[in-house]
Amino acid sequence: MEKPLVAIEDLHVTFRTQTREVSAVRGVSLVMGKEKIGIVGESGSGKSVTGRALLGLTPPNGTVAAKRLEFDGQDLRGLDAEGWRHLRGRRMAMVMQDPKFSLNPVMTVGRQIAEAYRTHVNAGRAEARDKALAALEAVQIRDPARVFDLYPHEVSGGMGQRAMIAMMLVAEPDLLIADEPTSALDVTVQMQVLAILDDLVARRGMGLIFVSHDLDLVAAFCDRVLVMYGGRVVETLKASELSKATHPYTRGLLDCVPRLDRPQEKLNVLDRDPAWLAGA
């Protein structure tokens, strides 16, 4: 059998605060290859914490435990800083929600991308510049040479996010974790950024973990969807079969969204069942 790109079994992430312990992720399992996986849930469901644990980005007050936590056959449990450095950015990368906060405001967009490339690949300045320009072109930026020299405050949100994606892809990672990559963008721009991600993933044969609160969006975009609630996966679905979701939480999420093609006097609200927390 081909070895999976990511194998997670019974992942637990617990945070210590001054007064108590909070279990943010409680027993998540996922085996994936070079496919597009969506992780969907509301704030506090543990979706982002799961993505971050896979990248070793759990904050110091958090503890990660798992029966299995592997990337491309390599055990990630107990990996040291040096080990993480070889993986992060080079083999697995992350795109975060808001380009305003994830781009360095005092460095031009192009230099940041070139720097990312040289951090991971032993290359000269000229080569890094070429790679950065090519990466900007790959994310459909029309005039890469001009955008290369712009500072983050000089680009729009959509362009900033495309630049972030370019930066994450320049080292050609095998896995991209995108945490709400388009939530800060307008719908029409969002659509174009998703199309770019879609093409890049298909062309390069990457794995993608797409973390989002937007169930419809993720279903239209991914191959499989994990629905999280209270730190657990309550349902796993083929994205094309979202309408056949059976878990009341998934159904409730789908039902409470206002839709243009479904006029309603009153919106349905989610009736939370305490049993969902126990994994029912």
Partner: protein, 255 residues
């Protein structure tokens, strides 16, 4: 007609954030302004609320022209709810403080009773009265912001993306609450949102804004029936149906 705008223009330096916008809102109506970031929709709302003074044109409320500044009487009739419930409540004021302040400003009586009633109306029990914002969830904070706006018994609410920062399940609860309050109190709403489906749910009529201009105004039924004529409105509608590879391609061609 309770509110009208004619030739409303707002400029920031060289930039025309709002360009000759015109619309009217009837008493008891729920009117929506839809558009993407930078379209000028929130700027229109801020000009209405008296939070800007760099506008030209004519604004009128209940038959009287509005000037650059607004008096207290205006704010006892028109109140605003902002997008971010994390930014709009003072972190060191309890819910009780937040609700008592407008009562003091407007010199209203029976404060005790009004605060309790306001909390009850937005579905928060007495137990929430002496909590601080950090002890509340996003949805609860937005309920407090709504209670604070309604406690002075206004006729009109200006709503700036009131649920964009909330999870969809909480959004449904807050939208239902706003709708119920509007019916019960005969309120007039002017609601700004980037989400076409949210506005269609809440409003009977809406205007679509793009680059400072109102490009189309229509009733919600026509919108749902697909009668939008303006290409920008059509594009927004298509995008709000969800991700579609071919559609994204067509947007690129339009850029």
């Amino acid at each position: 007609m309770i509110l009208s705008a004619r030739n409303l223009t707002v400029t920031f330096g060289e930039m025309r954030a709002v360009d000759a916008a015109a619309f009217t809102v009837a008493r008891g109506e729920s009117f929506g302004l839809v558009g993407e970031s930078g379209s000028g929709k929130s700027t229109v709302l801020r000009a209405l609320a008296g939070l800007l003074d760099n506008w030209t044109g004519e604004l009128a409320f209940d038959g009287r022209a509005l000037g650059r500044t607004r008096d207290r009487a205006f704010y006892s009739r028109v109140q605003m709810v902002f997008q971010d419930p994390y930014g709009s409540l003072h972190p060191r004021q309890t819910v009780d403080d937040a609700l008592a302040e407008p009562l003091a400003i407007h010199k209203m009586d029976r404060r005790e009773a009004r605060i309790e009633k306001a909390l009850e109306e937005v579905g928060l029990g007495r137990g929430f009265r002496f909590r601080y914002p950090h002890q509340l969830s996003g949805g609860q904070r937005q309920r407090v912001a709504i209670a604070r706006a309604l406690i002075v018994e206004p006729e009109m609410l200006l709503l700036d993306e009131p649920t964009s920062a909330l999870d969809v399940s909480i959004q449904a609860e807050v939208l239902n609450l706003l709708d119920a309050l509007r019916r019960r109190r005969d309120l007039t709403f002017v609601m700004v949102s980037h989400n076409l489906a949210v506005v269609a749910h809440m409003c009977a009529r809406l205007a679509v804004m793009s680059r400072g201009k109102i490009v189309e105004e229509m009733d919600t039924e026509s919108l749902r029936a697909g009668a939008a004529r303006d290409p920008y409105t059509q594009r927004l509608m298509a995008a709000s149906r969800g991700y579609d590879r071919a559609l994204a391609e067509s947007f690129r061609a339009l850029d």
